[in-house]
Symmetry: C2
Subunit: 314 residues, 2 copies
């Protein structure tokens, strides 16, 4: 079923992106994001130990999905990466802070992250707590800087700050993580699992697309369509994570297989089975593509990302 | 010497606040801040476990120094508490998050806070990490809301967000806490200790006064004077903390005496001795009063707070 469905997916969009090279696009934008992050960390005017720890965690691989989505959303409405790079960097900072805190012994207790010792293993537990705190705070420092220095679009950047904070806090990521930890060993039903995924990863992915679109100058109709797209691919991303935990190649994913099962975590495959989970992911990716069907070829990166989300091996 | 200096202090300001009742002022403004915090926590539209934990930590006493300073700074330039209440609440949220994380076993490992079991004792360690994260995030959600809903002064609120983030992160509170932990058991010299205090508590106190003054409509001269005031009283606050750790009454302070010494922490008294520390605090409070000497009676609360800082018993 999965291969068949895979082929279906490519047929369903009315704007096949033809020769669009997603691999090159991802490489190029990851490099831009990494350069921008590096520049921000180099701007510190005081001698600070915490920046070294932050650099270790932030400049260490990672797919940069959130910044790339932010940039691709901006481009889809005619803007450019440079116009939203501060937002893209802030989103990656928030994602990285959440990984640092999630890896702590009191949380998921993970020793490895992005192929290297996780922050608390490399630097100590108090340092990891503080580095996460500093990264979260730095995200808002970065988001509040552009409009002040360029004296433009203060209301737009405030909206982005509000969306990012709302999606990361008690109405989003933090609540999702709390429910995720609380539900270990407890069998969940699908609506409960979907809610946890929407809070834990979906909300910030939605905020990434929203921020890029808003700062890129999307009109209200475009913004609504792009947010619909984001809601769908946010869930696809998490379902494929579940699937890779069952049948992924550890040499490609960089993660051990079966960790969800050994932790007693409910997942899409544990509730629906593998094949149905893949079918749901495919359906959602198609819905995402349909949300932006009326957009022109500037949305080809978003279309290619939706397909990549379903087929990704890592 | 201290009693003598205490009397001197009251004489040195050209605007003795006469019958100004600081106790009533503090009680009134604490009640207003508590009501505003409670209202914010009641606005959550989704069912969330983290809000209950946050409420336990946030609505549990505390001197509310930062919100009161924010309000008093706004009033000193002719504005009112209501105009800066969101900033006042956000400042208390950031202060409270820092206490929750500082109390964690990997950090200061404190079981008691504000007279009740600290967050991780009451709810668990992962819950305390997440509650701190949620409070820090909520502060920026709150700071980004007023200008959006009232459609006014977006640039002003962005400046406040930038100042609050800068003072709380790697250039402020987080770096201060990291250096504080790293220096336990190491004898510090006074300039090093002063830098730690400036980062760890001074920066956020300065941001509190700055935020109130800026949102209250201070002109650049007033703003500069109020920031000078804040720099001085921020250090006074910390020196008196050190002194109370030596000779405070545990029944009034709510803290054990001698904890700095038992942890091998350098303090003003351990470096300068008690009497010289008191003299330094007195000198700094006088400098604070002088910074706002040209301000009229609307600054009486700030003047009374500077005196209270030196004489406080808790």
């Amino acid at each position: 079923m999965t291969l068949h469905r895979t082929n279906e997916l490519n047929m369903k969009t009315s704007h096949p992106e033809g020769s669009f090279d997603l691999k090159a696009y991802l490489l190029e934008n990851r490099a831009r994001v990494n350069a921008a992050l590096d520049e921000i960390l180099g701007q510190n005017s005081i001698s600070t130990k915490i920046i070294d720890i932050i650099r270790y965690c932030l400049i260490s691989g990672g797919k940069r999905i959130r910044p790339v989505l932010c940039i691709a959303a901006a481009e889809s409405v005619g803007s450019q990466a440079g116009d939203v790079m501060d937002a893209a960097c802030a989103l990656e900072m928030i994602h990285t802070y959440s990984l640092i805190h999630d890896d702590l012994p009191a949380m998921d207790d993970d020793d490895l992250r992005r192929g290297q010792p996780s922050c608390h293993i490399a630097f100590g537990e108090s340092e990891a707590i503080l580095a996460g705190d500093a990264l979260l705070t730095l995200a808002f420092q970065v988001l509040s800087a552009p409009a002040l220095s360029r004296d433009e679009n203060a209301a737009g950047w405030l909206k982005v700050i509000h969306a990012v904070a709302t999606s990361s806090g008690y109405q989003g990521m933090v609540e999702g993580q709390l429910r995720d930890i609380a539900s270990e060993g407890m069998p969940l039903r699908l609506p409960e699992l979907e809610t946890i995924y929407r809070l834990k990863t979906g909300a910030l992915i939605e905020a990434s697309v929203y921020s890029g679109a808003l700062l890129g100058g999307a009109d209200p109709m475009q913004l609504a369509a792009l947010v619909r797209y984001a809601k769908k691919i946010g869930l696809v991303f998490q379902i494929i994570d579940d699937i890779l935990d069952v049948e992924g190649n550890p040499e490609i994913t960089g993660k051990a297989v079966g960790s969800d099962k050994s932790r007693g975590k409910s997942t899409y495959p544990s509730i629906l089975g593998l094949e149905s989970s893949k079918a749901v992911a495919m359906k959602l990716a198609n819905d995402a593509l349909q949300s932006i069907e009326s957009f022109d070829s500037k949305s080809d990166p978003l279309r290619a990302i939706a397909r990549y989300m379903v087929h990704r091996k890592q």
